[in-house]
Symmetry: C2
Subunit: 469 residues, 2 copies
């Protein structure tokens, strides 16, 4: 008869201990496949435990398939094909540690003091109080109605866009929305992105398994001539402020693009405006979306840039016929943003806090930009730098007077603790790019670090001109 000892007071119930003992015996082969187990009554009396304890252990073993019961006969050990046990955790290779730099001109970070913590926290509490039960109801596929209304109202007021809240699809970041779009428009189409441009956007389309073309830019932005020369059906652009060149697409090019879209069935323009809120000069440019009379433009924007990158809320606006298709094909997807955050953001917008925040941020970024440019132009690089494209967005360009190739410059800077991104990094083919142009993402720069970093750069530039002489 099976004989086990039980530990008392170890926090593990008797039935659990019995279950574990028998399971161990089955896994180790001490109990053979097909072997009959003692009856519950007999084992209980043998082990001096209650019948209920044995029954519970047997039931657990049955539920997990270690034993099976035959009516009116009893319990038998199942046939296990191979020992099956909890493996010790296999070795996990740790991720490469992130290198830290004294000065990082590549990453745009948002200073903590800029975020309206108190207001946001109040909105959260308010949301919990006011929305109460609504917070537990999953929002519709396209997002909470209140948030979509707030977005539509904001677009009307500050962008002059007339949008029905129904047309808005809320998602957890642009990346999620791009994948939804590919599913909506189809994987058999050919997609085009800007070259140069954000590397990530191309990566996402490639990862989505679609044909990808990279279309060159000229001074007015994406070249429609090059686009026509490609077989692309869908083009992903950022006309209001291109990264990293800073180009604002003029109206003539916008018209050309709309004309391209109208020339063939199934052509679409994805207007990605992630960076449009921080223009420092003039009014925001009217969107392609609102100039489009033939439902060829999908508009997209995000709150990650304007509120905080850790807030994952973006949205896209579909023209009516695509909305109908979306509901049919993709309406089964749950909205990817929690209703808490949707309602909190809606309250933040409805009470005017969002525009207030943007205005404040715009001022702060302008000051920051001015301070950064001043430090650069009055520092040791004075006379060897030219600042370009500083009118919008959280970056500008800085052309260095040097003959050092971009790759070498970056390496030498990194060795001195300065992280640089060159304009040529954003081109598929670096040879097509203007050389010696640094993309300065300035929002997170500390003045002290910047001063030291500029000294490092000046030394590198001097060192290189000495060696070439």
């Amino acid at each position: 008869m099976l004989t086990y000892t039980f530990e008392k007071g170890g926090g593990i119930s008797l039935y659990e201990q019995l279950y574990r003992h028998i399971r161990e015996d089955i896994l180790s082969g001490r109990l053979h496949s097909g072997e009959k187990l003692p009856s519950k009554r007999m084992l209980a009396s043998h082990l001096e435990v209650s019948v209920i304890t044995v029954r519970n252990a047997y039931e657990q073993l049955m539920a997990e398939g270690y034993i099976y019961g035959v009516e009116k006969k009893g319990y038998y050990v199942s046939t296990l094909e191979q020992p099956l046990r909890s493996s010790s955790s296999p070795m996990v290779q740790m991720a490469e540690p992130v290198k830290t730099y004294q000065l990082d001109l590549v990453t745009n970070s948002i200073s903590a003091e800029y975020f309206p913590f108190t207001v946001w926290a109040r909105m959260m509490r308010q949301t919990i109080l006011e929305q109460d039960k609504k917070l537990l109801v999953p929002p519709p596929y396209n997002g909470a109605e209140l948030l979509r209304q707030a977005i539509a109202q904001d677009l009307q007021q500050f962008r002059g866009m007339t949008v029905d809240p129904e047309q808005i699809i809320v998602g957890a970041g642009g990346e999620v929305l791009y994948h939804l779009l590919v599913q909506l428009l189809g994987r058999d189409r050919c997609y085009a992105v800007e070259d140069p441009g954000y590397r990530k956007i191309g990566q996402i389309y490639e990862s989505a398994g679609v044909q990808l073309r990279r279309i060159r830019l000229d001074d007015a932005g994406l070249s429609v001539e090059a686009l026509r020369g490609s077989d692309a059906d869908v083009v992903h652009i950022s006309p209001s402020h291109h990264y990293p060149t800073g180009i604002v697409m003029p109206i003539t090019r916008r018209q050309e693009l709309l004309r391209w879209a109208g020339e063939k069935e199934g052509r679409y323009i994805l207007e990605d405006e992630y960076d449009s809120e921080f223009r420092f000069v003039g009014r925001p440019i009217p969107t392609l979306f609102s100039s489009d009379e033939h439902q060829h433009v999908i508009y997209m924007n995000t709150f990650s840039k304007t509120i905080a990158p850790s807030i994952r809320i973006s949205y896209m606006i579909l023209p009516p016929h695509l909305l109908t298709a979306y509901r049919e094909k993709l309406g089964f997807y749950a909205c990817t943003v929690s209703s808490f955050e949707q309602y909190t953001l809606a309250a933040f917008m409805m009470q005017g806090r969002y525009e207030q925040h943007i205005n404040r941020m715009r001022n702060r970024y302008r000051q920051k930009r001015d301070a950064v440019i001043q430090i650069i132009c009055q520092g040791p690089l004075a006379g060897r730098v030219e600042i370009m494209e500083q009118d919008a967005g959280l970056h500008f360009l800085m052309r260095l007077d040097t003959r050092l190739p971009d790759g070498r410059l970056k390496e030498q800077a990194a060795a001195r603790g300065v992280r640089l991104a060159m304009l040529s990094d954003y081109y598929r083919c670096a040879a097509d790019a203007p050389e010696h142009v640094v993309v300065v993402n300035y929002s997170g720069i500390e003045p002290e670090h910047l001063r030291l970093g500029m000294e490092q750069l000046a030394e590198i530039l001097e060192g290189s001109s000495c060696t070439t002489n």
Copy 2:
């Protein structure tokens, strides 16, 4: 000379009014392509506004491409290809209104009183206070470390799973994670899902553009024989509690599955445990993931079921070699869950609130289930129903003693305000399914509505037996 009138006190600045007037003239064709505009100084004096006002208006028109400047000559109207104006909003077709039912046995909803509002709100406030600046830093690609630690700890303590927090990838819902997996494992592989099963899972794979197979179940869950007969490389299963049959996969079948995975390079099992927390009998079944010694199993679970469907936080656990591949291929994706919610959930778990909540919910659901079953079995259907698979999860099966075909039953019930899901609805081919079995999702049922609904069902059943007699 251009002559415009300006409105004062309308809240629109002079420069903005001037900009609008000139733009209107260009769009309407009153100003011709190539036409020279008056100099800033002349127009300013003509209109009796400051030169700065005119300069600002011209600059905005330039930025938007309506006019262009020629150095030392002046400003000219651009060539527009077609009138480009804000179109009136096209008609948006409204979504079909959601039909409401008196009794809905299809949707599992969570009663508001069950959600620990006060605790959650406190965790949120705490998160804002404690995490402060960390909330603004985007979390790593795989989620906030604190949350991954909390998950690993919970899995160790309550599921006996040993997991390195590095292996955990946090995402905004299972749907997002499935798409990441397809990108990780490849679109050229063939994926298999359970038949019957959640329809949505199959839809997602189809929408991801991969080959999909539906594999039949037998009494022990997914048939490995049928799986072998297919060309599937990746199989998506819910072994701990299958929806809707309620089958718990026994250990023998699990071993068979692991063996299948080991037979060929590149085979994977996706163990989806969305429903495992609400077992009412015995201990939770050990996972396939912890029994897997050869890195073939990807584990997945969600908090949407256990906390609230509006909280979109799920996670998957990758075996080490897939983690390495994930970092290389997909590490560029931002984590889709906001750091606020990640830290809030981490605190909720670390302070033992999560397990407390689950235990409470489990008891409540058990009581709810018992009450629902009692109402069904003692109501007008008594003697004509059999309750099955009620030991786990938020649903059970109810076999009706009737000859009414499933489709007719559903229609007639719907006409009387009762929404039913039949087991056959979850089969690709309804003819393969057992008939007359209702899937009862009970978590949101109100007793009063249930009583009335059962009366309606009884009337339908009686009506149908009369007509067949």
